[in-house]
């Protein structure tokens, strides 16, 4: 517990703290998340692949790790940076501590650092690469950082997508509700909550690898297609963009986060990197159709350039803080997407209505009245 560790950022700043979790070094893009709860969901969110995450809330691990709140099958972050890790959690569902979970997953953490100072640096200088190490000097760490591949040049979707297609089975209660329709989810790094919620709405959820071709997807006879969230730079994903282009007009499509950017790119729009991204559970988004404000969960480092939009897409939602694009729809086709996370987790559940809206769209389109069994 008292082994020293350091976090070194590529601008040369060094933060001293204590090692916890696995005894390993880690490097990645250092980003902060302002959500005060939901560290387990953050850790397992595939959109954090390649990143070292700094929760801005100082006390992390208070309620341990439970079996209900995984968003994928493993820890996805490269490293975890906290002000204080709780080694004595208390919760009736807790099965292990944060430290145990990181340690058994081979992921290092650093605690005791001034996470607010780190956040202020990332806010003013922009996100940057960094290293957590307990056996290197700052100088060595910095040298090594320069050798490593840049975050924006790596295709992380290929690393996190499912190897083989699978159908979502409810994990806990096992009840099989009657299926109203079939949704294929293109897994760019999806979160289980999407599956949980849509399954709860009566959908059969078929998850497929991000590399699956449009023809293969359509051969599954989906009623709708959901493009999942996912990590990294959307400009590296031409192979998925091509797939999406071929799906357009065939089936109703909903895109979430990366899915939003993929739809934008499929229609020829450009994306760009935000200085320090949007990561948290408190981002206000305006629905331009009625002016209403929605509090949303967000986790993205890239945004769509609204000036580059064409092909019938229009902006439906914008971020109240910085005006960036938060939602798109096609003027004629049954396609819409959001840059934020309607599945929340962590974050507010105010936007789950969008899944219902998607199902409305699917219902409208396929005129299905079919009932399984």
């Amino acid at each position: 517990m008292t082994k020293r560790a350091i976090l070194v950022l590529e601008d040369g700043s060094v933060y001293e703290g204590y090692a916890f979790g696995a005894e390993a070094n880690a490097h990645g893009e250092v980003v902060f998340n302002t959500s005060m709860m939901g560290y387990q969901e953050m850790l397992t969110d595939p959109s954090y692949a390649g990143q070292i995450v700094v929760p801005t809330y100082p006390l992390i691990g208070n309620y341990g790790i439970n079996e209900q709140d995984f968003e994928s099958n493993k820890i996805q972050v490269r490293g975890f940076v906290v002000r204080e890790e709780c080694y004595q959690p208390n919760h009736y569902l807790s099965t292990k501590t944060l430290h145990q979970y990181l340690a058994e997953s081979g992921i290092p953490g650093i605690s005791g650092v001034d996470t607010r100072a780190i956040t202020r640096r990332l806010r003013s200088s922009g996100v940057m690469m960094g290293t957590i190490t307990s056996d290197k000097t700052p100088q060595e760490a910095l040298e090594q950082l320069k050798e490593l591949p840049r975050y924006g040049e790596t295709d992380f979707v290929k690393q996190v997508t499912t190897d083989a297609p699978y159908q979502w089975e409810p994990e806990l209660h096992g009840e099989t509700s009657e299926s109203l329709c079939k949704i294929v989810v293109l897994d760019c790094g999806l979160k289980y909550s999407i599956l949980r919620i849509m399954h709860g709405l009566g959908c059969t959820m078929q998850v497929v690898p991000a590399t699956m071709s449009a023809d293969e997807i359509l051969s599954l006879k989906p009623d709708g297609i959901l493009l999942s969230p996912g990590p990294g730079n959307p400009e590296l994903l031409d192979y998925i963009v091509d797939t999406v282009k071929k799906l357009i007009g065939k089936k109703p499509i909903m895109g979430i986060c990366m899915g939003n950017q993929l739809i934008a790119r499929a229609f020829g729009a450009k994306t760009f990197k935000l200085k320090f991204g949007h990561r948290g559970a408190n981002h206000p988004v305006r629905d331009l159709s009625d002016g209403r404000i929605h509090i949303t969960a967000q986790n993205h480092g890239y945004a769509t350039d609204p000036d580059s939009l064409n092909g019938g897409l229009e902006v439906t939602h914008i971020n109240l803080n910085d005006g960036t694009v938060e939602g798109l729809r096609h003027k004629e086709l049954p396609i819409f997407s959001i840059q934020y996370h309607s599945e929340a987790s962590p974050g507010p559940l105010d936007n789950t209505y969008l899944f219902e809206k998607f199902l409305e769209m699917v219902r409208e389109e396929s005129k299905w009245i079919k009932v399984k069994q």
């Binding site: 387990q40 208070n62 956040t119």
Partner: protein
């Protein structure tokens, strides 16, 4: 809905338990919001010690009683088109409902803004509320409302004990409680029914021991909803949230649980249709995801004030703007200045709130806490870990040396968990610490207290650090870790065997200093503009020393008996005066309820404990290193923060920190009894004879010399062992024996008790001149604490020579003491053969609690003038001269307000020890009208017709007779206890004798109070404390029945006169009109 053009805002009235300074903060914010929105604000409140009642905050200010009749007249006169009922606490809500019921809102076309009247009814009426929740699918504990004890028994049988009893329409849970057995059920239901204005209580399934979680929710007219924050009560269900230690944000809930309750909160505020802020309380099962909705407050509240200070999100201000039609996304976030109010604050620290209970004053009070709130105030502390926030909050309580190391010697220490007082009470936290130190396990304690193990583990961490400090050498690493856990230099010194100053020196040698981080609503995501900081031991300091002329205003900490909202009023005005003079004002305070801790009151706010360590750290952080002048320290102002701030004068001076205004030397001279006695002797100003003694014999000798009765008080502060008036040698022996047993080192002060007319003045000195804005005469004679007396401006019964003497003394004392700033002098006037003799009782070289009152009645902005004097602008330069300021053509009467119904076991009689929690003001052109208003506002006015009970001590009987006659002459029916009845019969007045012997049949005195036969009581005490049992029962019965009980004949006389003079004729005018216009 269209935007209103003129809005009436109802204040919350006097400070009582359950309704404190948070509503001054809310009302002040609302008035500012109205101004920003171009809406004319009309404010009515009876409490003069508030910023909201300052001219310049609202557009039109009424300081009048909060009655339907009075507010109706104000509406008739002002014709507002909107009413904001949600900012004046329960008082405001209840009054709004009453105004609606009386048809006044309809008659004058006034619409209720923010929260519809029907919503208030839905949320307040337990049955309607329950039906509403059930209709939207939200779980509620099994319950039923009842109007009789019989119904209550039936319901409780169905639900099963234990049950919670909650009276409808009361504040702070007054009259409620938990019943574990049938006897308790009977007792609590009876009180509850009596307390509820509609005689209705809710009997509810008990979820005692579940987690108690609160949400602060906002909604606008376009149905946009956000939650500002959530809070977790460390004390689980069963303890009123106002009496719970609270942490924000919640610590032990998963995201899933939090979102479940957050979603429920939004659903509820939408169902209620509240446009503004709303507080929702949940009980969450610690072992499943079952929850219940416990309570909803469709208004700003104590919790919303806490949430505002905890997050930086100004709930009241935003709520007020929503009420006049703004949407959340149209209201800028005043903290970031870049984003809008439509977002949810992200905290990167946590806050701990601890209630401040009055048991240090009321040693005999029942210290057990439950569903009825008993705290008078609260403190908040901010830090980046729980241990540090908790320990800083404890330092902020200002219990002298009572850090977490404190233990009650009465506890039987050991490993047996049963030997510690672990039921909810004000000392429970310390008891848990003591148990942990002796090896009681965290699991045992969590099981026993139902406090989440997470919190107990954190306390165990503190104990662990204590043990390290006791056993290990103090290294830089250990000291750093101790500071990170919030240990004060003093605690570290105690444990590591060093003086606090040595610890400080070590810290400096090792460069271990606090840094200051910003409260910015967004966890550093945006570059915020707020000047709101807290200390922590981390790497990066964000509070660079402010540039330019500046001064620190030291605030007054938590609201407690004896140190109320008045001092916050003074602190705020001092900060503003600094700004007017081109100085940057830096506020330091620990009280989340107040205007002073609003981040836009000062140029910079440090939310910190008010002790030597934290002030010196702040002053060092604010000192400027300059090339030519070296280190320039920042001066402090200690005159406005009550005893808290004045106590810091000496330590700050000693450490080389400059003070503005009167020096520490002057303060010491006034406070040191012997030095002050010599000082007055030199001036030839008389004071009551007396001395300090250390033995019983010495005491008896002095008392014999000066003559009984004598006033005795310890020269040290010790809970509950207070000032007393002693009438004979046996009482003196009793008092002295107790005092000496408790402390042999400090002398006991004995003074001749002069039962004369008490007078006080507040004055401003600049070294050359002394300005006395006004003289206040007390209605109660000396012997009743000035804070518990009714005070009349101007001294209507004072003779010219008396006034001359008072003014002369005040000027000479002010000049000779070289007072720079404020002072308060208390006098007693005794009749003598050569006219009357004026004695000086005490001089306080600081702001007193009458400053807001006297500023408002005279129009002299005393704090403003005094602050400018301190900065070097003389009275003359400010347009004032020496002597008494011109007498206003009005009468202002300040009356005390008590919270006795909430403090079981506390004796309510008035004496030299202060007991009131708040005050009201009655202002009018005549004494009678002002008196009637003051009594009305204080809840002391009797009905024009009724019955009254007299139980008067023998030595007061002659004096009581004229008062009794007066009551009889206005048609009051007289009841009296044995001796008093005999006297009344002897003079031929009709009286019904009623026994005060409670064990000897019915009806007795307590019965006729409880059954409503009498609607007022006059009861004087026989002296001493032991033989008071009967009287005590009478007074407690009156307090719990909430009928006026007069223990001073002076007050009773005033009330009798008010009744006799038919004083229902009084004015309803804006405050400045009384001064400007004169009677019409």
């Amino acid at each position: 809905m269209s935007k209103p053009s003129k809005v009436l805002i109802i204040g919350s009235g006097p400070i009582v338990i359950g309704q404190a300074a948070e509503f001054d903060y809310a009302g002040t914010q609302a008035c500012k919001a109205m101004r920003e929105e171009g809406v004319i604000s009309v404010l009515v409140n009876s409490n003069p010690a508030t910023i909201m009642t300052d001219e310049g905050i609202a557009d039109i200010v009424y300081i009048e009683p909060l009655t339907v009749e009075m507010v109706g007249r104000i509406i008739e006169r002002e014709r507002p088109d909107g009413l904001l009922p949600t900012l004046g606490g329960q008082t405001g809500l209840n009054l709004a409902v009453d105004l609606a019921d009386a048809g006044i809102l309809d008659k004058y076309n006034v619409r209720s803004l923010g929260t519809p009247i029907q919503t208030i009814r839905n949320a307040e009426d337990r049955e309607l509320f329950k039906q509403m929740l059930i209709s939207i699918g939200e779980p509620v504990p099994d319950s039923a409302t009842v109007n009789t004890l019989k119904q209550a028994r039936k319901v409780a049988k169905k639900i099963g004990l234990p049950v919670v009893i909650r009276p409808a329409y009361t504040l702070g849970g007054t009259g409620g409680g938990i019943a574990n057995n049938w006897k308790e059920l009977e007792r609590v239901v009876t009180i509850g029914l009596a307390t509820s204005p509609i005689h209705q209580v809710l009997i509810e399934q008990s979820v005692v021991g579940w987690k108690e979680i609160e949400y602060e929710v906002m909604r606008d007219g376009a149905d946009n909803c956000i939650t500002v924050c959530n809070m977790e009560n460390i004390d689980p269900m069963g303890v009123h949230t106002g009496d719970s230690i609270v942490v924000a944000p919640s610590q032990t809930m998963t995201n899933r649980e939090h979102q479940m309750l957050r979603t429920a909160s939004l659903k509820i505020i939408r169902a209620l249709g509240v446009e503004g802020g709303c507080n929702i309380q949940f009980a969450l099962d610690p072992n499943s995801n079952n929850y219940y909705v416990i309570e909803v407050n469709p208004r700003v509240s104590r919790s919303s004030a806490l949430a505002s200070k905890a997050t930086g999100y100004p709930i009241a201000r935003v709520a007020a703007k929503i009420a006049v039609g703004k949407r959340l996304d149209e209201i800028p976030n005043a903290v970031t200045k870049k984003t809008m109010a439509a977002f949810e604050p992200a905290l990167d620290y946590l806050v701990v709130k601890i209630p401040r209970w009055p048991f240090d004053k009321f040693a005999s009070g029942d210290r057990v806490i439950g569903t009825q709130m008993k705290a008078t105030g609260e403190v908040m502390a901010i830090d980046r870990c729980f241990e540090a926030a908790l320990q800083k909050a404890i330092r902020s309580l200002e219990f002298g040396k009572r850090s977490l190391l404190w233990e009650d010697r009465k506890w039987e220490m050991g490993t047996n968990i049963n030997s510690y007082p672990l039921e909810p009470n004000d000392l429970r936290l310390w008891a848990i610490m003591a148990a942990l130190r002796r090896g009681v396990t965290t699991e045992e304690l969590a099981e026993r207290t139902k406090i989440d193990l997470w919190f107990i583990n954190k306390l165990q961490n503190i104990v662990g650090m204590e043990k390290q400090l006791l056993s290990q050498p103090l290294t830089p690493e250990l000291l750093w870790q101790a500071k990170r856990l919030g240990f004060s230099d003093e605690q570290i010194g105690t444990l590591a065997d060093r003086l606090p100053e040595q610890v400080r020196q070590l810290r400096h040698n090792w460069n271990i200093r606090p840094v200051y981080k910003m409260v910015d609503t967004c966890a550093a995501e945006f570059d915020a503009a707020t000047p709101y900081f807290y200390s922590t031991y981390e790497e990066e300091n964000e509070a660079e020393s402010l540039q330019g002329d500046k001064a620190v205003v030291i605030g007054s900490g938590p609201i407690r008996i004896g140190q109320g909202i008045e001092f916050d009023y003074c602190s705020v005005h001092s900060a503003w005066a600094l700004q007017e003079s081109g100085f940057k004002s830096i506020m330091v305070n620990s009280n989340p309820e107040t205007v002073s801790t609003d981040f836009d009151t000062s140029d910079r706010l440090y939310f910190e404990a008010l002790d030597e360590e934290s002030l010196r750290d702040i002053l060092e952080n604010e000192s400027e290193e300059t090339e030519s002048w070296g280190n320039i320290p920042t001066p402090s102002i200690v005159q406005f923060g009550g005893q808290t701030a004045i106590n810091l004068a000496e330590p700050l001076s000693r450490s080389g920190m400059p003070l503005l205004g009167s020096s520490a030397e002057v303060i010491d001279l006034a406070e040191d009894r012997r030095r002050f006695e010599n000082f007055l002797n030199q001036l030839g100003i008389p004071q009551p004879p007396g001395a300090g003694v250390t033995s019983v014999d010495e005491a008896l000798g002095i008392a014999k010399l000066i003559g009984y009765p004598v006033l005795v008080r310890p020269s040290y502060v010790l809970g509950g062992r207070a000032m007393e008036i002693v009438h004979d040698a046996s009482e003196l022996i009793r008092y002295m024996s107790l005092a000496i047993e408790l402390d042999t080192k400090h002398p006991v002060l004995i003074d001749k008790y002069l039962e004369g007319k008490e007078v006080e003045v507040d004055a401003i000195g600049d070294g050359e001149r002394v300005l006395i804005p006004g003289i206040m005469e007390h209605i109660e004679r000396a012997g009743v604490h000035s804070g518990d007396s009714m005070a009349v401006y101007p001294g209507v019964n004072l003779t010219e020579p008396e006034i001359e003497t008072i003014v002369n003394y005040a000027i000479r004392i002010g000049l000779e003491l070289k007072i720079k700033g404020l002072m308060n002098i208390q006098f007693v006037i005794m009749p003598s053969s050569q006219g009357s003799l004026v004695y000086v009782l005490e001089v306080n070289p600081r702001a007193s609690r009458t400053i807001p009152f006297i500023s408002k009645v005279t129009g002299v902005p005393m704090v403003n003038v005094a602050t400018k004097v301190m900065l070097g602008k003389s009275l003359k330069e400010q347009g004032y001269d020496t002597g008494l300021w011109k007498r206003q053509n009005l009468v202002g009467i300040k009356a005390p307000v008590f919270s006795m119904s909430k403090l079981l076991g506390v004796d309510t009689y008035l004496g030299p020890e202060m007991k009131s929690t708040g005050e009201v003001m009655g202002i009018d052109y005549t004494f009678d009208a002002a008196l009637a208003k003051a009594l009305l506002a204080a809840g002391l006015m009797l009905l024009p017709q009724g019955a009254i009970l007299f139980s008067v001590a023998d030595r007061n009987k002659p004096e009581a007779l004229p008062i009794i006659r007066k009551f009889s002459s206005v048609g009051y029916k007289l009841y009296a206890t044995e001796g008093t009845a005999a006297m009344i019969e002897a003079v031929g007045l009709p009286v019904k004798m009623i026994s005060k012997k409670l064990s000897e049949g019915h009806p007795n005195v307590v019965d006729i109070i409880n059954d409503g036969t009498v609607n007022g009581v006059v009861n004087t005490v026989t002296g001493g404390r032991i033989p008071l049992r009967d009287g005590f029962q009478i007074r407690r019965a009156a307090a719990e029945k909430r009928i006026p009980c007069f223990t001073s004949l002076d007050t009773a006389r005033a009330v009798a006169e008010a009744l006799a003079n038919g004083s229902q004729i009084y004015s309803a005018q804006p405050l400045p009109d009384y001064r400007r216009k004169g009677p019409t």
